[in-house]
């Protein structure tokens, strides 16, 4: 597959995530949109990993090299971070819900100007 297909796909998913952040008011949905953005990045990274694998092996004729593994590991780390973030993020949302009984991001509006 040409790499551009993947890039466009990932970019589209990313932008859908952005739109989600922009048009929804529920903190949880916004957070989910952000997760969607992260996943699109993951997809792109894996695609790039395979692209560089191809490029690396094309340049170095001979034994295949491990070009591209680092991107897949990066994806792994992104997942790790996402997991940590989710735990903290949901804790924060829950804390807020306890105080105001809502997950609407516009409900709390004391800090402005």
């Amino acid at each position: 597959m040409p790499i551009q297909y993947y890039i466009v796909l990932a970019a589209a998913l990313f932008c859908i995530g952005v739109v989600g952040v922009l048009i929804r008011r529920n903190a949880i949905i916004i957070f989910m949109s952000i997760e969607l953005m992260l996943n699109s990045v993951n997809l792109m990274l894996v695609a790039f990993s395979k692209m560089h694998y191809a490029l690396g092996n094309a340049a170095n004729t001979g034994t295949p090299v491990n070009v591209g593994t680092d991107a897949q590991l990066f994806v792994f780390f992104i997942m790790v971070v996402a997991a940590a973030e989710v735990s903290v993020g949901l804790a924060i949302i829950v804390m807020m819900y306890r105080n105001i009984h809502s997950t609407d991001v516009n409900f709390l509006n004391r800090l402005k100007n």
């Binding site: 890039i7 680092d70 800090l111």
Partner: protein, 462 residues
């Protein structure tokens, strides 16, 4: 490496302390000891003494610059804990946890000051941010704190997404996460990659968010305002300048080689002007000193961005200088601020009468922020302006910057006017003698740096 391990390690030690030790105030002392140890090992590190020999596989690269910065960050934190330690312990029902989180943040700072791989940048930023989301919301019953925490978290995650997008694109262009890409004509990755530039743009946006450069600064005033004062102090100083160091390393690592650095100057110029504009102009109208300081930190970021704009010898030295000057002054201001019952400008009226020491040191901190000579802030601004002048382009940018610096005196001097020229009955918490002494020492440090800056650099190197 020492600093990373020790800060993480001391965090873990304090986790155990949190249920072994009952006395709340002893956490503060443990933290101080930890910071001292951290400072010592970091300075040892900068002299080539590593406690642990770990091969980071080129993930981390130790430079004089990074270590020096790390020392400044640790020293600032030390001063911060010494001045505001009691107030940290008073935020909520936990005491040790806040210190633990601060140590973890420092671990992130240490990573950011020495990373050599975009993965480490990513991890460092996250290690820095996640404890801060929590610290921001640590005043749990306070709706402002809740709101700040939520906003910070949502926008922070969004910026993380942008950052990984940028990293992914950069990887697509070069096939490596390492900062020092070897671009040979015959090698695997030839010349400048277009994808990498797009990626860098995303990464830049995300870093701008972290250092609260306009137009990605919107979170800053709300979060700084909502977070407990002591936490704001920490966020606005150590964390923020850590972001700058990371940004600077990134610029040095990738921007100077992706294409000529001049290509980025226009973009930085736009960002600098926007930052100075939003920071300074909006600060003028504020009624609360705390929120004013939030905007002021944006304005100061505008000045620090000059280092990234010019990327020369002056820039890196200047950024160190600026970090020290800005952090120390802001820590001092917040230390006084959290002692005030009323943090609006009116609350400061007549402070010079009732608390002359607080007022005088506060004035020096404000002078430093405004960039008045004899204070560290002046030299910091000086280096920044000099770095741009040295590049020879964009002199008009410097002119714009100093005009905004002049505007900045408006809000800084409002505090001075309130303290010295107006009358009122300011209410403060108990002010101990040692606190006053600490403030005086801090002010003295600021002035010494301002007059004899070489001592900062020499002393930290021994």
């Amino acid at each position: 490496m020492n600093a990373i391990i020790f800060s993480a390690g001391w965090g873990i030690i304090m986790m155990f302390c949190s249920f072994l030790v009952r006395n709340k105030s002893s956490f503060r002392h443990i933290a101080v000891v930890g910071l001292l140890v951290l400072l010592v090992v970091n300075i040892l590190d900068s002299n080539g003494v590593a406690v642990f020999h770990i091969d980071s596989k080129n993930m981390l690269a130790y430079t004089r610059f990074g270590l020096l910065f790390n020392s400044i960050a640790i020293a600032s934190t030390l001063i911060y804990v010494l001045l505001s330690g009691k107030d940290i312990a008073r935020i909520g029902s936990y005491a040790a946890e806040y210190f633990i989180l601060i140590f973890f943040v420092l671990c992130g700072v240490a990573i950011l000051s020495s990373y050599n791989n975009l993965l480490m940048l990513f991890l460092g930023i996250e290690i820095l941010s996640i404890p801060l989301y929590i610290l921001t919301g640590s005043d749990k019953r306070n709706l402002k704190s809740n709101e700040a925490s939520l906003k910070y978290f949502l926008m922070g995650s969004f910026s993380t997404a942008l950052m990984v997008m940028g990293i992914a694109l950069m990887y697509g262009g070069t096939g490596t996460f390492s900062l020092d890409v070897v671009r040979t004509e015959t090698g695997l990755y030839k010349g400048v990659s277009f994808l990498e530039i797009i990626g860098l743009l995303f990464l830049m946006v995300s870093m701008c968010f972290k250092v609260s450069a306009a137009p990605f600064h919107f979170w800053t005033p709300d979060v700084y305002d909502g977070a407990p004062g002591v936490i704001t102090s920490f966020m606005a100083t150590i964390v923020k300048v850590a972001g700058f160091i990371a940004f600077l390393k990134l610029c040095y690592g990738r921007m100077t080689t992706t294409s000529t650095a001049i290509d980025w100057q226009l973009l930085f110029a736009v960002i600098i002007i926007a930052t100075l504009l939003f920071g300074n102009i909006t600060a003028i109208f504020q009624q609360s000193v705390k929120r004013m300081l939030a905007y002021s930190s944006i304005a100061q970021a505008g000045f620090m961005l000059f280092a990234l704009f010019s990327l020369n010898d002056f820039a890196s030295k200047g950024l160190l200088m600026y970090s020290a000057a800005y952090s120390l002054a802001t820590i001092g201001l917040f230390a006084v601020l959290v002692k005030m019952k009323d943090v609006t400008f009116e609350g400061y009226n007549g402070l010079a009468k009732t608390q002359p020491v607080l007022a005088a040191t506060n004035a020096i901190f404000l002078f430093s922020l405004a960039g008045i000579p004899l204070t560290a802030g002046f030299l910091a601004k000086y280096y920044m302006l000099a770095s741009v002048v040295e590049t020879g382009n964009y002199i008009w940018l410097v002119v714009v910057a100093v005009l905004f610096a002049a505007i900045s005196t408006y809000y800084y001097f409002r505090v001075i006017q309130a303290m010295y020229f107006k009358t009122g009955e300011p209410q403060t918490e108990n002010i101990t003698g040692s606190f006053k002494f600490g403030l005086i020492a801090l002010a003295a440090i600021i002035i010494i740096i301002g007059v004899l800056p070489q001592y900062l650099f020499n002393w930290l190197y021994f």
